[in-house]
Structure formats: structure tokens, C-alpha cells
Symmetry: C2
Subunit: 251 residues, 2 copies
């Protein structure tokens, strides 16, 4: 087993516009990728317009290296995945980006270097280039409108790479530094609300009182309230029943 390698290398084959290389650098860094190789780039990938499009990811452009042909660019890698939108007459495994991310991660942990290959803006990779790759990555998109620009193709595949680590946290509840209220704190509020509603004659007629109360309690009980929010509700009830002489007045 070789030494583990941290990340896949993005390889752009014959990119035409320096701006697009800049936009790729930005998309890469968004997803924590920093290693970029260019095969026969047409323009200077460290030009002002490339750096402007990189929008803060200029260091990725600075560190990028150019190669005279594809074979040299992939010579030291063990696995190369070709990103392609068109189906080819080639016998290869096609991965969706999510599955490719897991596959690449496994290879990297075994110390095997991986490259992700993207073709020129308009034409994509040649069949001869795809033929030398280990497998294909195809992004599942609207079959009637699947054309992505270069940076967006890199973004989606790099995004899936980044997601492989963060997936377990699918949802979290963000509070304003106040802990969630306990059920006792909720119950105390509901009792106080019930008392206030009784005092002000809201729970009427008596035959409907219980149903009305259940519906009102349900609304608050299903909402994950923080201690701070419970306190605010207490204060609102007090103030609604006993208005204070402050704040904007009605004229």
C-alpha cells in the first residue's frame, strides 16, 4: 500500500478560454480541491482575466502546471476518470458523480493517485482520450438539456467529492445560542396560556373548550421552541393582557 493521497487532481484537456480555467479554479477551491493540471491550454491561465474569474482562488491557478500532452499529464496517476456528457461507443463503467466520489476516495486511501479529466469547452474529450481512462463520470441531468459549462461540470463533480465527508449531517437545528426548551418549560407556558385565555374569555363556548385548547397546544408543542422563545411568548401574553405605556402609540 502506498502513502495515502489527499485529493483527486483536476485535469483540463485543451481548455480554450483563460476565464474558464479561472472559474474552474474557483469551483475547485469551493470544494477543497487545489491540484490543477492543464493539457495544451490555449491561453495564459495566470492572466488577469483568469485571476478575476477565480475570484479569490488565484493560488490554485498559480500552482497549476501545464503538460504538452495527455499521456504526460496522467503518467504518474493510477486511475483516471473521464467526465463526459455524450455516450461513447466504448466499453467502460459509468459512474454518477456520487459513486465516483466514493470510488476515488477508496483509491486515494490505498495511496493510488486519481485524476478527473475534463475536455475542451465546446467539443469535450475525444474518444481516443476517453479510451485511455479507467472509467467515465456522467452527471445525471435533464436529458433534453444536459449541457453544462466547464466550471459547472467541475463544480458538480467536485461538490460530490466534498459531500462524501459531510453527508451524515443532513439537517441541523440552528438556534440563537439559546438551548431548546424542555417539555416542562413548554408545559408551564401552555398552562399559563390556558389560564390567560380562560381569564379573557377566549375559550368559549364551554362545549368547545377542550378541542380549542388541544388545537392551540398542538401548534406550540410541534414547534421546537427555544428557552428564549418560550420566555418571549410569556412576555407577549403578559403584555397583550396588560399593555404598557411605551413603544409606538396609536394617534
Amino acid at each position: 500500500m502506498l502513502t495515502p493521497i489527499e485529493q483527486p487532481i483536476i485535469i483540463l484537456v485543451r481548455p480554450q478560454m483563460a476565464e474558464n480555467v479561472g472559474a474552474v479554479a474557483r469551483a475547485m477551491l469551493n470544494c477543497g480541491l487545489t491540484q490543477l493540471r492543464l493539457v495544451e491550454p490555449r491561453e495564459d491561465w495566470r492572466s488577469d482575466k483568469a485571476i478575476a474569474m477565480a475570484s479569490g482562488a488565484g493560488a490554485v491557478l498559480e500552482a497549476a502546471t501545464a503538460y504538452p500532452d495527455l499521456r504526460k499529464a496522467i503518467a504518474d496517476l493510477q486511475h483516471v476518470y473521464a467526465a463526459t456528457a455524450r455516450r461513447r461507443e466504448l466499453t467502460k463503467t459509468i459512474f454518477v458523480p456520487r459513486a465516483a466520489a466514493i470510488e476515488v476516495d477508496t483509491h486515494l486511501k490505498n495511496g493510488e493517485a486519481c485524476g478527473l479529466l475534463f475536455g475542451p469547452e465546446r467539443t469535450g474529450l475525444l474518444n481516443a482520450e476517453v479510451a485511455e481512462c479507467s472509467a467515465i463520470i456522467e452527471v445525471p441531468l435533464n436529458p433534453g438539456f444536459a449541457s453544462l459549462n466547464l466550471a459547472q461540470a467541475v463544480l458538480l463533480i467536485a461538490y460530490e467529492w466534498f459531500q462524501r465527508k459531510v453527508l451524515p449531517v443532513e439537517r441541523q437545528f440552528l438556534t440563537n445560542d439559546s438551548p431548546l426548551a424542555t417539555r416542562e418549560e413548554l408545559a408551564n407556558f401552555l398552562d399559563r396560556l390556558e389560564l390567560a385565555l380562560d381569564e379573557c374569555g377566549f375559550l368559549w363556548p364551554p362545549a368547545k373548550r377542550e378541542t380549542m385548547l388541544h388545537n392551540i397546544k398542538t401548534q406550540f408543542a410541534r414547534n421546537s421552541l427555544t428557552q428564549q422563545e418560550i420566555n418571549t411568548l410569556h412576555g407577549m401574553i403578559v403584555t397583550l393582557r396588560h399593555p404598557r405605556a411605551r413603544g409606538p402609540r396609536k394617534n
Copy 2:
């Protein structure tokens, strides 16, 4: 239960550049989304530059509608998710795009209309706007470099929406219309290869013959070969042993 609704609605709040609205339309259609609403757009979203950036998704721009304020734009929806990169001092659930896609799908199937809200290019949504939303969507990205442009933010969230359906097909083996070879077809080839290698004296010295054979067979056996590829291999062996007088000649 209401009638099921097909897709979430993308809502851009105060988009500044018509090009960016065009790029959003393209990203939407890539992921099968066609319903776009604009709140106080600064520029004409059907201008030539917007249509150029939409790159074939002009119909999404044509069908887009503008609203004078956020409340009117979301008035008929049941759920609204705010896409935001900055953490707010607000008590809300935060979804990653993948979890949001499942949540939105569930709501839509119950006939509840959903909107996905994106703020202006530089500033993002105001806290007052986020406060009126059901929940937040946050894209997990490199914490040191998480800034996405508007179209890329829409792309990643719309991409996850589209993926919710295609996920089961994570990997497929693409063949050139030829079925995979059976193990018998493989074995016939391996026998023939062994015979040919013996005849030409490759499997030598005898003490190493068996190990060499195992290694050679392993290489072919682990590769999912098609019938066509097996036939090609048969032909290659025959021709390598008995060259034919055709094709490019050495001069």
C-alpha cells in the same frame, strides 16, 4: 390532500445582473426546473444578454414572472426555503441540499407548493427575508472559501433535486451493444491463449509455468469483457502468431 405539484419554484430576490438570471435559467433547466419568479429584478431578464447566458433555456426566462415584493412572490406557496451561506441569528432548521430535496419532494407529493429563495448576488438575503422562510438550505463547502455565484448556488441545489430520482443507478457498465461474455466464453479464450503461449514458448521455465498462467488468466478474468472483446482477443492472438500481408507495412 391537495393535487400533487411537480417541482419547486426558484425565486430570485433583487437579482442585479440580467446575465446572472440567464445563467440561473440554464442551471434550472439542466435539472428539469422551469418555474422562475423574480422579486424586484433590476434589469430586463428577457434582454439579449440574459438570453445568451441562458444558452438554450430562453423559454424559462420567457415564462418567468416578476413581483414587486417578496410577500407577493411567495403568497401562494406553503413552504419556502432560504438558500444562504451566512449563519444567521435565527432559530430555523438548516438542511443540506440533499436533505432539502427529499423534504421538498415530500411536500410536493402532498400537494404543498414549495419555493427556493436566493438573494442578490453580492449581499444575499436580508435577515428579515430569511425570517419569513420555513427553513434554511446551506450548501456544505470549503469553510475557507464557500462563496458561490448565484447560478452555481442554484445549480447545486437544483442538482440535488434532480438526483433524488436517479440515485439508485449509481454505476452502470456501458458496452458497445455487445453482451458481456459468459464465463464459458472466457474460459475458451483462456484455454486458447494458454495453448498459444505454450506453442510459442512463452511459459518458461516449467517451474514458473503455473504461476505465470494464473497471473495472466487473472488479468483477463477480472475485467468484465464483452463477447465482442473476447472475439477481438481471439483474432489478435491468431494474427500475432500468423501475421497477414495487409495493413500498414514497415518499409
